[in-house]
Structures are given as C-alpha cells and as structure tokens.
C-alpha cells in the first residue's frame, strides 16, 4: 500500500512545472510536500487521482499505474483515494449532508440506511454534528474545510490527499485541522499526502517531508532531517528568510 510518484514531468504550454519529481508515500504515514506557491504541489497530487496526466514519468497507487487506467478503473481508484480541496470545493447547491453523501451514492454496495449512518459518522469525526442541513455558504472557513474532510472520508478511503488544508485559517482552526489529519492517520489508518507551505502545520502532521523546488525533489526526509538541513534553499523556506535563498542563488 503506497503512492509512488516516479519522475513526473508536467508542462502547461511553455510553463514547465514539474521536471522529474519523485516521492513515495508509504503505508500508514503522512507525507508532507512542501514548496513555494506555484511550485507545482497541487499539480503533483492531481496526478495521483488522474485529474492530470504526466507528460513523462508515472504515478502508481498500490503498484498500479494511474496513467494506464480506463475510466472505470479510475473510478475504483478514486473510491480509495479521498481528496480534500484547498477551498473545500463543496457543492453550493447541496446541504452539508448531501455533500458528504455524494461519494457514497456512487457505491452500489452501500444501502440508503448505511449511507445515512456513514454521513453521520463522518460528520461526527470532524465535529460537524448538527450542521447536516446547512448550506456551504452558511459555514465558516474552518467548518468548510472540515466538511470537505468529512466528504473525503465518508467512502472510507485508504488514502487522503490534502491540498493546502490550513491555508487561510486562524491559528486555532489550523491546529484543529492538523489534529484532524493526525486522527485520520491514527484512528482510521489512512495514508496521507499533505500539500502545504505552512511550516508549523507541516511539522505537526508530518512523518516525512519532501520539498518540491524547481520541479524536482530538493530534499526528502524526517522532520528532524529538515530542521537540521544545511541546504540554504530548505533553510530559507523553513525559516522564512528569502536572503538565504538569494545567497544560494
């Protein structure tokens, strides 16, 4: 059980975003991918669920190549990989409960009663009991993120991909979301990939980290390896000191 991103290249027109990025998320761990805004972090995880296809290289989930899957195989893959979007991407026209139930409606083996039970359970995990009938527009930023997580975990996926889960949140809500990410791993055994540039959050949730820089993996290691790194690019990012980066260049 792992997600392997193996030497992927991706360009949008003349903009070469990824230039051979490789990293692996191992079973039961939370891997944090760090990088500047626009460095290609979100582009990377969209490859994992087949929303984007690499120009070169490949992504494997449980050893199976995502690039070679037909549409039905992609649907099966997406049922085992939950995706938490940066701004939650909740469906405006539906209540919170209907949003959470969306993925379950595509699972024939889940009965109506079981679906309702799973929606309740997912909302309980993210502490949103009582918000079932609210519209997404009636939720705060933190509640929206939690509803997005509830929607992603309702299908009980083995993997969760978090795209900037703490961006735009206050420090308390950030800590709540980080705790939730850790609970997903500890209580549900979920393997996670978290995309972020929030270092405080990264160190709170990461078992391992990888830094994406200029389309490649600059450093991959444990939180301690990152803290002790002498690489000026890594230090500049962790400490928020652009002058180190300028010196390195």
């Amino acid at each position: 059980m792992s997600i392997e991103i193996d030497g992927i290249h991706k360009a949008f027109g003349a903009n070469q975003v990824l230039r051979g990025f490789s990293v692996e998320a191992r079973e039961g761990e939370t891997l944090v991918i760090l990088g500047h805004s626009g460095s290609g972090k979100s582009v990377t995880i969209k490859h994992v669920v087949g929303l984007l296809q690499p120009d070169e290289g490949e992504v494997r989930v449980d050893g199976e190549r995502v690039g070679g899957m037909d549409i039905e195989e992609l649907f099966s893959l997406r049922r085992k990989v939950g995706f938490v979007f940066q701004f939650a991407a909740l469906f405006d026209s539906m209540s919170v409960a209907d949003n959470v139930a969306m993925g379950l409606r595509r699972m024939k083996e889940v009965s109506d009663e079981e679906r309702e039970e799973r929606v309740r359970e997912a909302l309980r995990v993210v502490d949103l009991v009582g918000f079932e009938d609210r519209a997404p527009s009636e939720l705060s930023g933190g509640q929206r993120k939690r509803a997005g997580i509830a929607r992603a975990i309702a299908t009980r996926p083995g993997y969760l991909l978090y795209d900037e889960p703490t961006t735009g949140l206050d420090p308390i809500t950030r800590a709540v979301v980080d705790r939730l990410i850790n609970r997903m791993k500890d209580e549900l055994g979920v393997t996670g990939i978290v995309i972020t540039h929030d270092m405080e959050s990264a160190f709170r949730v990461a078992d391992r980290l990888a830094m994406l820089y200029e389309g490649k993996c600059r450093l991959e290691g444990t939180p301690d390896e990152f803290r002790n790194s002498e690489d000026p690019v890594v230090r500049a990012f962790i400490e928020g000191r652009p002058e180190l980066m300028e010196e390195a260049e």
């Binding site: 649907f75 990989v81 995706f83 701004f87 405006d92 969306m102 595509r106």
Partner: protein, 260 residues
Amino acid sequence: MTRTLLAPVRALGRGTRVFTLAVGSWGSLVVDAVRALRWVQIWAPLTLRQMTRIGVDSVPIALFIAAFTGIVLALQASYTFTGAIPLYFVGVLVGKTMMLELGPVLTGLALSGRVGANISAEIGTMRVTEQIDALETLAYPPVAYLVVPRVIAGTIMFPLVTALAIAMGIVAGWITAIQLLELSTPEFVNGLKLFFLPFDVTYALIKATSFGFVVTSIGCHFGFNTKGGAEGVGRSTTGAVVASSMVILVLDAFWAVLLL
C-alpha cells in the same frame, strides 16, 4: 509597409484559428456527452430538475415576449394593409409569422440569455472553484452529471416553451384584432386558417429543438472551459450568450434554406 498590409490577413487567420478550435472543442464536448449517455443512473435523476429550471421556469419570459410580439404584429399588419389588402389577412400574418419565425427565434434568443447564461455561469463557477474536479474525485463523470441532463432538458423543453409562446402570440394578436382593429373573431380565425399548413408547426418545433440543443450545449461548453476567477466566469457567460444567439440566427437561415 508589407506588415501593415498583411495585418488584416493575419487577424483573419487568427480569428479563423480561434473559431475552428472553439467549434472543435464544442464538438468534442458533444461527443463526450453522447458517450456519457451510458451512465443513465447519473443523468436520469437530474434531468427532470433541469427540465423544470430550463423549461418551466422560462415560460413566463417566453409568454411575455410572445404576447407583446403578437400585439405589435396585429397592429403593424393592419397599418401595412390599410385599404389595399382585406383586414382578415391580419390573422394570416400573425399566425404565419409567429409559427414560422418570431415564435421560435424570439423564444430561442430570450432563452439563450436566460438559460445559456445561467448554465455557463453555474458550470463556470463550479470549474473555477474546483467543484468539477471534486465531482471527478468522487467518481462522477462530470459530463454525465452536468452536461447530459441540461442538454436533454433543453432539447425537450425548448419546443414545448416555443409552442406555448406561439399560442400566446396568436391569442394576443387575436385579442388586439377584435379590440383595436374592428375585426371579428370569425374573420381573424378565417385568416389564421387561410394559409395554414400542419408543416408550419413541424417546422417551428424542429427549429426550437435545434435551438434548445445549441443553447444548452454551448452554455455547457463555455462553462466547462472557464479559466480564472469571477472575471473568467463573466467572460464565459457573455461568450455563451453571444455565441448561442449567433448560432440561432445561422440555424434559422439554415432551416429556411433546407425545409422551405
């Protein structure tokens, strides 16, 4: 000097390229929609709701436009015919014009604004807020979920709304004729029946069906290809209305050449 002379040619070339790419992209979406018909369990439950939104909710505006068109047609016919042509020809003109031209085209244009803009803005907003990506990650084919129900609903409902609009236009013309033109009901009805062919109704419904298809599919196409934030949604919405209005007029001429 040569550069200046060639500038219009270059502009024409660029315009042709953009147009060809847009038509290709729209055609590709239509092909995807045909392929997505196999996911009946996804689009079928959503189609009825779209039929209400696209069709039933559009009835008031279509009837409003048709009523005033019928009134104006009756009055202008009477003004044009003064003395030279018998007044019961008002019924001929109102009936024929509403059925063959103004009923389908005015309803189509009005609905391209209401329905096309709505579809493009809704799907465009879903695109820029990653809701379409979210659908995909939840194992929904977005074309089956968003495009197919709208295109089917539009193709079915446009002719129904158009039929109501034609009826309203004729009734408004009749009321105008008997109230303001000193024409009796039998005279108006005689005029209405004089050159009536059942094919007129078929012709109107064929046009309306094609308008329903293009307005909804073009709205979906612009929505799906929205880029950027609110500005992008605005651009898509305007583009959808302009493009579908133009295609309605081109199709109007096409059906006239082909069927009349």
